[in-house]
Amino acid sequence: MSDTLSKIEKRTAYILILPAVFLVFSIILFPIFANVWISFKEVGLKDIRIPEPRAKKIVKSIKDNLDQLKIIYKLRNSSLILEIRDVKFQDKLPKNIKPINLDERCRVKSNKIYCEFGNWEAKYRENFQILLQSSDDKPINKEKLKTIKPKLTGKSDNILLNTNFTLKNFKKVFFQNEFFDLLTTTFYYTFFGTIGSIIFGILTAQLVNQKFFGRTFMRSVLLFPYVGPVVALAYTWELLLDPYSGTLNNLLMNFQVIQEPLNLLGQKYLTINFFGFDIKLRLALTTVIIFEIWRYFPLAFLFILARLQAVPKELYEAAEVDGAGPLQKFINITLPQITAVISILFMIRFIWNFNKFEDIFLLTGGASGTRTLPINVYEQGFTISDIGMGSAVSIVIVALLLIFMFVYFKLIGKRADEN
């Protein structure tokens, strides 16, 4: 009895879960594996279009003969690379019309023309003509003829499905692509963005954890950058930071903080004289990191605030009795209470910042020393139109990601063991 019950339970569970699992599998897991496949192939953006046989229909009248018409089909293979096999053609004719002197590749059957064109090599073109004769002396309706579209079918190889593999892409990724540069930029962006957002998260959480007028309003406002659409925010910042018409530069120049406008998003290095030392600052990268901190510190803020609000008040009261000042309270009570949440945040944000694409893409497009690995995926795949290379860079990202996750779950597991 209970055996059948648990069987029913299992079956129900699978029915309930399967649709979701199927969808997630096909849209998330399948592409990750597909990346591996594509990364070992030489595929360009234009190769992924399946070759299609196409026909453009032109209807022409014949001088002094209203009973006859000529149709010209401009036939072509849409692909510049692949051939199409067994091209079949089909077009409909109005009832009172018969073709004359029909091409030997074609035949007529109940008002339809069927043709078999055989194989078309890449770039194939042909002007194919049919002469039509009205069978009942009425003039042929040209407009009606134009509206009927021919149908073409054919078989072709899919470049993605053949088994020609190459290591070229990975060689290019590691040796030609200034890979080291990409990696360091990505790490700078990820690391400082993560640390910055956590620091600001701690500060703001500490702030909002106190009582003051307008506190709930403040809490909403602090989350605005995180919930706002990235496109709107990135373009607003771009306008704000513009060297000529931007508000920030004009304000700084107005108050004589700087003499020359700074191209915050378009300049790779800024040399700062610091006590006699020239320091080369990666200007655009720093700006992008600041935007990232601005946009993502609210997440850290939320997590840390939730944790702070769960800290028992007695701890602080007891510390006060013992004569601890605000600084001691922060270091000895608050910090230990939030280290766990900070380490989780660090890992989550690290992984997410590592993969961040939109923010940099919208602000700089990856120029001026802000090219990270995700930006490179897009550039390889869609700017240079090399799908294989784009996939290879994706694979590198996935590999690094798996390492991070391994470390993360190891650490989480360790923490769970300790508690």
């Binding site: 339970e9 569970a13 998330i28 403040m218 989350l223 995180y226 373009y235 607003t236 107005n254 989550i348």
Partner: protein, 397 residues
């Protein structure tokens, strides 16, 4: 009174005052008033003087009289002696000084003599400073976005610092950028598409997620633990590594440039977190209710519809709002999949607009306002629900 506390108090309070006054000066400059200097030395000196006077006077004067006195002195020096400023600037300065004086009122000689007083002073002012500074830094870009959308190209070029809006002009003139993006750039259509995609994503996600979450929360089956961990791992995976294979497959299947294709992808990417959030909530519902239902011969469909759903309205709302927000804000996939202006979402349309260097910036900002306002309104109104979504998921990236 300790010297260290005194020095901390004087310095920190005057720096705080300086930053308040400076922010006010920035805002005033943006209204077209010519101001070239923050007058750091003068403001700091005045601030130290006022803070010192506050200690000396202590409670000999009523705090309201004391505050008004400080405010008057400061406003007079700053607004008439250092530079002559319009009256409304001075009113602002006066208000800031009243606020400041009330804040420093609690510090007296006895207070500064107490233990940890130097630390407390620093913490107090850092808090105030933080509130003001963070509000300013966060709200300023939003403020700029809104103002720019009401300006004209010429006005923006002549004086980029002029944020003042002329309300005397014709309604049509004032909202010109908005009329243009709706009439010329078809934003009405994009709003519809964005709404359709986002609402569609919410509905489809819930249809898939609710049964799955119920199974994970309540039923025993082989591979359950594996599935739970997989959910966690899957939502760590970034969109950028999915883009190329999805692009190729969608191209070949003819799903690019279709709203349906976008809907599938959005649903799949939000499903893991939706399941994760819902199953957590379903677990908290007492099992006895379902056992009674099984007695009444309800099947799982009946249980979900009649028992689980009515009890989970808060959790379902927060998932729905959260998913709506992700879909509405999503950019990467809409960039990849849509290149026909007939099927653009709002985000993609704005990005497309900006691609043309000739597009006036105020149109771009008007578009940005249009895409931002719905999310911010939803967020402010339903904050309670959304915050729980944000903390549970944190998957937006």
């Amino acid at each position: 009174m300790k010297t260290k506390s005194l020095i901390y108090y004087l310095l920190i309070s005057s720096i705080f005052l300086f930053s308040l006054v400076s922010i006010w000066k920035i805002l005033v400059t943006l209204q077209g008033v010519e101001l070239k200097n923050f007058n750091f030395a003068i403001i700091i000196t005045l601030g130290i003087a006022i803070s010192l006077l506050n200690l000396i006077i202590g409670e000999k004067l009523n705090y309201l009289i004391k505050s008004s006195l400080f405010a008057l002195i400061f406003t007079f020096v700053d607004g008439y002696i250092v530079q002559v400023m319009p009256i409304w600037y001075n009113i602002g300065i006066f208000a800031i000084l009243i606020f400041f004086s009330l804040k420093i009122n609690k510090y007296n000689q006895k207070y500064l003599a107490s233990e940890h007083s130097s630390q407390i002073v620093v913490f107090d002012f850092l808090t105030l400073f933080g509130i003001v500074l963070f509000s300013f830094v966060i709200l300023f870009p939003f403020y700029m976005m809104l103002i720019t959308s009401f300006k004209t190209q010429a006005a923006l070029l002549i004086n980029p610092l002029d944020f003042s809006i002329n309300f005397n002009q014709d309604f049509k003139e004032l909202f010109k950028s908005y009329f243009v993006i709706f009439d010329t750039y078809n934003f009405g259509r994009y709003i519809l598409i964005s709404t359709f995609v986002s609402v569609g994503t919410v509905i489809v996600t819930l249809i898939f997620a609710i049964p799955a979450a119920y199974a994970v929360a309540r039923l025993n089956f082989f591979g359950k633990n594996f599935l739970s961990t997989s959910i966690l791992i899957i939502y760590m995976f970034p969109a950028i590594v999915l883009v190329i294979p999805l692009y190729t497959v969608f191209s070949q299947l003819g799903l690019r440039n279709s709203v349906g294709g976008l809907l599938i992808v959005y649903t799949a990417t939000t499903l893991p977190v939706a399941i994760y959030m819902l199953q957590g909530y379903f677990r908290s519902i007492p099992k006895e209710l379902e056992e009674a239902a099984i007695m009444d011969k309800l099947n799982w469909f009946g249980i979900i519809i009649k028992i689980i759903l009515p009890l989970s309205i808060p959790a379902i709302s927060s998932v729905a709002l959260y998913v709506f927000m992700i879909a509405w804000n999503e950019f990467l996939f809409s960039l990849m999949f849509l290149d026909n202006p007939n099927s653009f979402t709002l985000s993609r349309a704005i990005q497309y607009l900006s691609g043309d260097a000739e597009t006036p910036r105020q149109y771009l900002m008007a578009g940005s306002v249009v895409v931002t306002i719905p999310v911010l309104l939803i967020f402010v109104y339903f904050e309670k629900y959304l915050v729980s979504g944000l903390t549970a998921g944190s998957v937006k990236g």
